[in-house]
Amino acid sequence: MNFFSLSSKGKWEDLKKATRPRLKELKFSFNRIRKSPLSLVGFSLIILFALIALMAPYLAPPKYPHNPYQIPRYGYSATPKPPSQTNFFGTTEGQYDIYYGVVWGTRTAFRIGFMVVGTILLIGIILGSISGYYGGVVDEIIMRVVDTFMSLPTLILAMALVTALGHSLDNVMKALIIVGWPAYARLIRGDILSVREEQYVEAARAVGCSDFFIITKHVLPNAIYPLLIMASLDIGAMVLTAAALSFLGLGAPVGYADWGQMISFARNWIVGPPGNPLAYWYTVAIPGLFILLFVLGWNLLGDAFRDILDPKLRRR
């Protein structure tokens, strides 16, 4: 809870002792990952993407330093150009550089994933905890709101919201947050309902702990893991939905580095001229591949997390 409050004498020793059991757990987790090659693939993919996102200014130096997310154009012709010396992955419709787009788009993808899922997680945990721990009328109200949201199709609701709020990437994220939180609130509520009945929670009440203390110290740490697994799976899914909205023209402004928009540019060039149907393959295949690998990476990582965190699969 707080090893910083210990007497200074044995502080360092205690800190070492306190970390040892945690290290043991960590070692066990890594062992689990090592044994499943698919989780390794997931990890490497996500690390690769993270590196691309971090190194973006070096991999693709921005042409407009004040607005690095604006994809540079190499002319104004509509017809895409194939990969060349200047454009590694070629250019897409309107001569936007595909390479620059996918590299800086990685940053956008991470931003969408983390922002959306992080916010959803926060809202879900707060509302779900209140709902699950207190029950009664509060629970009834929150759950009926959740029902209302979940009765509408996700993508359509998101589209409607973006249309109402105005086309921009921020509004896409807002819409995804509004659409996404109910599932999280419901999931954690269920887990809290079962953890609430555990005897150590009752023991904590007998000790005299306050409700807030019980929720944060006893209930949440034992109920949150399924939610974290779902969140890691959802980062990929949210990026996919955002890409879908961008593809439909509801997302980022024209020329903004975003994978969904890259695919949207390729809309007219999926099939090439007669006799050479694959002439413009790079316009759709390259951003598509990035989205595919990103989502795949998070899904594999989510599975790995489930292996590590699921108490049913753990020894003990």
Partner: protein
Amino acid sequence: MKTLLEVSRLKKYYPILGGVFKKPVGDVRAVDGVNLKIYRGECLGLVGESGCGKTTLGKTILRLLEPTFGHIYFDVPQKVKNNISQIETSNNSPPQQLSKLTRKYDLAVFKKGQLKSIRRRMQIVFQDPSASLNPRMLIKNIVGEPLQVHRLVGAGDLRNKVLSLLYRVGLTEDHLFRYPHEFSGGQRQRIAIARALATNPDFIILDEPTSALDVSVQAQILNLLQELQRDFSLTYLFITHHLLVVEHISDRVAVMYLGKIVEMASTEELFTHTLHPYTQALISAIPLPDPTAQKKRIILKGEVPSPINPPSGCRFNPRCSYADKICRQIEPPLKDVGGGHYVACHKAEKLN
């Protein structure tokens, strides 16, 4: 002897909700009008079969469950208790006067702040130590939690205080930074006992503390509990279904059947002059660890009836071989038959 805890006419009903609008259609009468006195420094054993309401009674006393009706007095002068019952029985006194008194003295209606301060003095040890310790907390934090919640020690002293508690229950410094799953059942129960001792309470409810443990470990824990009782002058309510354990550890024993206390006496008196037919059957059913023992076993017919529709009259009458008309009609009161031996049976005098 001074009374530490008095429970008077305590009831705990669980409503059964039915229909679309969740209207109460009946009650599970888990605890149905229990009167109990626990004297300072004694160990009262509470025995009964599963579903008789003994655990519910324990938890209701601690207000982990909300009582439906009744009073719980913890360390309240006799004068005040008399006063309250006087006001209750007289019809013409104003209700404000009563509520003013109960709010101050009756644990059954305490508010959150009062409860927190009283829980410093009353603690509980649960049956299954693997379930009652948070699996994601280190031992130091589990044992230190009550100290922090009640702000009993300064931040610097926490470690030493926790350590002294661990030593007291037979654990060492090595155990301070471990998770509960790294311990054996007996050690976990020691940790739970250390946690209960942390606030230096007067009264501890032991809810089947040894039922999940092996015989040799059970002996360790029972010995430890007796030592602690002596050293800290603790008062115990020892809830169990195991009669031999109760005989070993308790000064007095109360036997519960279907939400009511049917017999209560000092341990020796209860085991030698058993009066209630249910207690007799219970005692005769214990398998004794002695293959040569000659036993006359009373085997009870049937099962414990449902506490939703308890039998009319004496609740034990459908299974009792002595039952007659009066037992089926009138519920016997728990009355003193001499020497602090209470029994709720119409036939008690005859059986004696």
